[in-house]
Amino acid sequence: MSQPLLSTALNLLLHALAVLLLPPLIPGLIAKVKARMAGRTGPPVLQLYYDLAKLSRKEAVFSRTTTWIFLAGPVGTVAAVLVASLMVPFGHTPAPISFEGDVILFAYLLGLARFLTVLSALDTGSAFEGMGAAREVTFSALAEPALFFGFAALAKATGSLSLAPMLVGHGLTPQAQGMGTAAHLSGPLILILAGWSIVYLAENARIPVDDPNTHLELTMIHEVMVLDHSGRPFALVLYGASLKLVVLGALLVDLLLPRLAHGWMNWLMFLAGLGGLALAVGLVESMTARFRMTKVPQFLLAGVLASAFAFLLLLV
């Protein structure tokens, strides 16, 4: 009795630590990969930690047009994504909180984060930030069906509506189907992975949808919304963005991980998976250019179609 309780408590602690401390590492890894690909040394992997520490000591400047809504964006994003992270299993370690229907809460919490960010961008009354906000809502309304079709496919495959069994117990991996090699990834799983990868790039404002590194380009989406944030609110914005990279990344990584014998092996496997994802994002960003704005909806629609086909394959 005490043994499972102990391991549950340990897992909970590890989950909380991973959620709180790990995220700023991922953008650092991606930046490092990009720098190496470009033949540069690049900033240290821990750069974002330093940035956060510095920003949290700095004074924040508020424009005279802003109101309290301006703070609701950063705070709401971090709070919503932190709560959402509690429902996501990290690898084969069970999620701290898991219930039927948590997947909907998960998706709508991400929606809440986006809604508040958009409002705090509009609060500045700036043309740039309004533009970013308009683009964000336009594209995310397309990304949401892609995410949901993937969820629907997994719900159909597992008969469950809870993230933990859906992501790790979907039975679509080769081991579960008794096929042995990774060469035989099943069709729906590939389609869901493809659809969600597009969602991942779009939701986290990565190339080819968006470029997280520049501010002044007219093609920006996410970065332009947070132009006027500074000091602690901006630290929350940066932290929230990295948190989203981890939480949404866990969705992708979980789909693929095999179950290992020991708890600690599962943890290591998950961390390795996240690292691999960061590597993949870095490679994609190094090798592709950002799309023109008119191409982005088509790209997202491709994601919707991929997930929708996964769902259709599981229906028939």
């Binding site: 424009s63 809504i69 909907i104 809460l105 309004g130 949401e144 629907a152």
Partner: protein, 660 residues
């Protein structure tokens, strides 16, 4: 005292409140407000008691047309609650919003018809006799017509109210047909649940009911009267029209279906599809509107669509005897009826205080109101989140019920319809967030776009009080759902009786057994969300605004003006332009240093103004031919009467001779 007596007393109070402004010494309407609010309080408490105790109470009257039963059961109580919540708060709100003694404001007639409307709807929910039900329905429809036409010196208001009147009467015709068929099936106008085997007629009765009541509920092809009517009426009237009168359509459909022994499965699927279409269409149109009251009206179409989806799901569950589907579908529908009533009346009250302060319904003229009307902005914030179905507010939970139901039906045999409905619900959620981020952002945030904003300030406590109560309820209903589950079960029991009849109990599984554990964990997470939000705000330490705050940085642009902000139209560009019915005219810029340019965006309702209204126009032109029969000579009309009588006699003669 039995609940029914209290509710009838409340209806009496409202009638008195309607007449009081015409009694000479009490012209201001303060007394009438007190009487009306008191009536609503009585009815609210009685309905709550009826719902919690689970006992139906009734009185029987004998009118000249037969026995009439007035009964308050769980279903009636479920609809009486939002009615009297919104009506009571609405009349208090109206006291300052639309004073009775305005020189030109038709304040007294507004109060009269408001009282009449509330009385009629109250009786509507109680009556268990088809014929009298129709009378109450008509009283409601006509008083709503006069309410919509309050500002009848504006031509567009007259136009909107006429269209409303025509539509509601077309709907009434279809409802009459349905009720006559129902009377034929039951052998009389009194409504008693039909036991025994199903007949083919049942499907037709229900189909006619869906069509007729669908006019009132604003389901897709029959919705076109709604945006203009809701936009042109005074805001507290819009609140009651949108959050209660539309629901009378829902009530009618549910009541008729609860009387029938079975519901055909195809009708459930059809209503699910229709609801999904209405929801997506409504919200898509909402995000293209410039007039914020029209936006709210379109959002009502969306929400009624969501409710229809719930009912469709529940009917599917009832037809296939699936306890989970029935519970989740009906539970979600009823819960959304309540939630929509709360947040939509809050939004309409809010739009009332905006209109009161600025005098314009055009979003593009506003902006920066959060700094000038901070209380209104704060109170509308929960409503905007709730209507976009975002946690931890109430709109999220009712959609969560529906999602659970749709996924259950995905597992349990209706994968295709569930998949499509799921897509509709997801799109609705996403687009609602666009529409309401646009609403809130354009109206309250940024800097003012015109001089309409110059001298604005928050309204007084009489208008803010009702809004504050509703804002509290949006959060409370989201967090205190657990005690409501048995109450919902009670209502679902009426809607989904087990095949053995009402006495055999409910077909649906108790909600607490399906959802209890999940909801508890969900609420823990929502509580955590609020706590984390509070912690985060505390860490930021409030806004220490310096004495001379700088302007928005905006990439260092030197001279930003308010006109450079994103407007509401440009914000929704991505989705609105894809909407059929939206046309945009922009001249292409051909040379360097172009002169001033114009831009024109026109939004018409593609289904209503684009298809249905022209179709009716053509039909009317055809029917004009019969005008010749009506030349205006009294003698000719008497001849028609004689001819008709003769024809009847001939028919009787022929039938007696040959067919007997």
């Amino acid at each position: 005292m039995p609940d029914i007596t209290l509710i009838l007393l409340a209806a009496g109070c409202w009638m008195v409140a309607a007449v009081l402004p015409f009694v000479p010494p009490v012209k201001e309407g303060r007394l009438s407000t007190v009487v009306g609010a008191l009536g609503s309080l009585l009815a609210f408490v009685a309905a709550l008691h009826a719902l919690l105790s689970g006992h139906a109470s009734h009185v029987d009257l004998r009118l000249w047309l037969g026995p009439v039963r007035l009964e308050v059961d769980a279903l009636s109580a479920a609809f009486l609650l939002p009615l009297h919540l919104v009506a009571g708060l609405g009349i208090v709100f109206g006291l300052e919003y639309w004073p009775a003694n305005l020189a030109k404001g038709f304040g007294r007639s507004l109060r009269f018809y408001f009282g009449l409307l509330v009385t009629a709807i109250t009786l509507l929910f109680l009556l268990r006799n088809g014929l009298v039900f129709l009378m109450a329905w008509e009283a409601m429809a006509v008083s709503a017509f006069f309410l919509v036409a309050t500002e009848h010196h504006h031509p567009e208001v007259r136009h909107a109210s006429w269209i409303y009147l025509v539509c509601t009467h077309t709907g009434t015709l279809i409802i009459t047909a349905s009720i006559i068929l129902l009377a034929h099936r039951m052998g009389g106008f009194p409504w008693l649940p039909i036991s025994g085997a199903a007949e083919d007629l049942d499907g037709w009765i229900l189909l006619l009911a869906v069509l007729g009541f669908g006019f009132k509920a604003g389901l897709l092809p029959l919705h076109f009267w709604l945006p203009a009517a809701h936009a042109s009426s005074p805001s507290h009237v819009s609140a009651i029209l949108s959050s209660v009168m539309l629901k009378t359509g829902v009530y009618g459909v549910l009541r008729v279906s609860s009387l029938l022994p079975t519901v055909p499965a195809w009708l459930g699927g059809a209503l699910l599809a229709l609801g999904g279409l209405s929801a997506v269409y409504g919200v898509w149109n909402a995000l293209a509107q410039r007039d914020y009251k029209r936006l709210l009206a379109y959002s009502s179409i969306e929400n009624l669509g969501i409710i229809a989806m719930g009912i469709g799901l529940g009917w599917t569950g009832r037809a296939t005897e699936s306890p989970i589907l029935a519970a989740l579908g009906f539970g979600g529908a009823i819960f959304h009826v309540w939630n929509h009533a709360i947040f939509k009346s809050l939004l309409f009250f809010g739009s009332g205080s905006l209109l009161h302060a600025t005098g314009t319904r055009d979003m593009e003229a506003l902006g920066g109101l959060a700094a000038r009307m901070p209380r209104t902005a704060l109170l509308l914030f929960p409503a905007v989140l709730a209507v976009s179905a975002l946690p931890p507010f109430n709109g999220f939970l009712s959609e969560w019920f529906l999602y659970r139901g749709l996924f259950a039906s995905l597992k349990g045999g209706y994968p295709w319809s569930a998949g499509l409905a799921l897509l509709a619900l997801v799109l609705t959620g996403g687009l609602a967030a666009v529409a309401f981020a646009r609403f809130y952002g354009t109206v309250f945030l940024g800097s003012p776009r015109s001089s309409a904003v110059d001298h604005t300030h928050d309204p007084s406590a009489l208008m803010l009080g009702p809004m504050a109560l509703l804002a509290g309820l949006t959060l409370a209903m989201g967090l205190l759902i657990l005690p409501l589950l048995p109450v919902l079960d009670c209502i679902i029991g009426l809607l989904a009786p087990s095949p053995g009849g009402l006495s055999a109990g409910s077909l649906a599984a108790p909600l607490a057994s399906i959802l209890g554990r999940d909801l508890r964990l969900l609420l823990v997470l929502e509580g955590l969300l609020l706590a984390l939000g509070g912690l985060g705000l505390a860490w930021l330490g409030g806004r220490k605004v310096r004495a001379k705050a700088p302007p928005t940085w905006d990439c260092g642009y030197a001279a930003p003006t308010a006109r450079m902000q994103y407007t509401g139209s440009s914000f929704a560009d991505g989705w609105a332009l894809a909407l059929p019915g939206v046309t945009r005219r922009v001249r292409t810029i051909r040379r360097l240093f172009p002169g001033p340019q114009t831009f024109r965006l026109k939004v018409v309702d593609a289904v209503g103004d684009g298809m249905v209204v022209p179709w009716f126009g053509r039909l009317a032109a055809r029917l004009l031919r019969f005008r010749r029969l009506q030349p205006g000579f009294l003698a000719l009309y008497i001849l028609y009467l004689l001819l008709a009588l003769l024809a009847v006699f001939l028919w009787l003669l022929v039938r007696g001779r040959f067919l007997a």
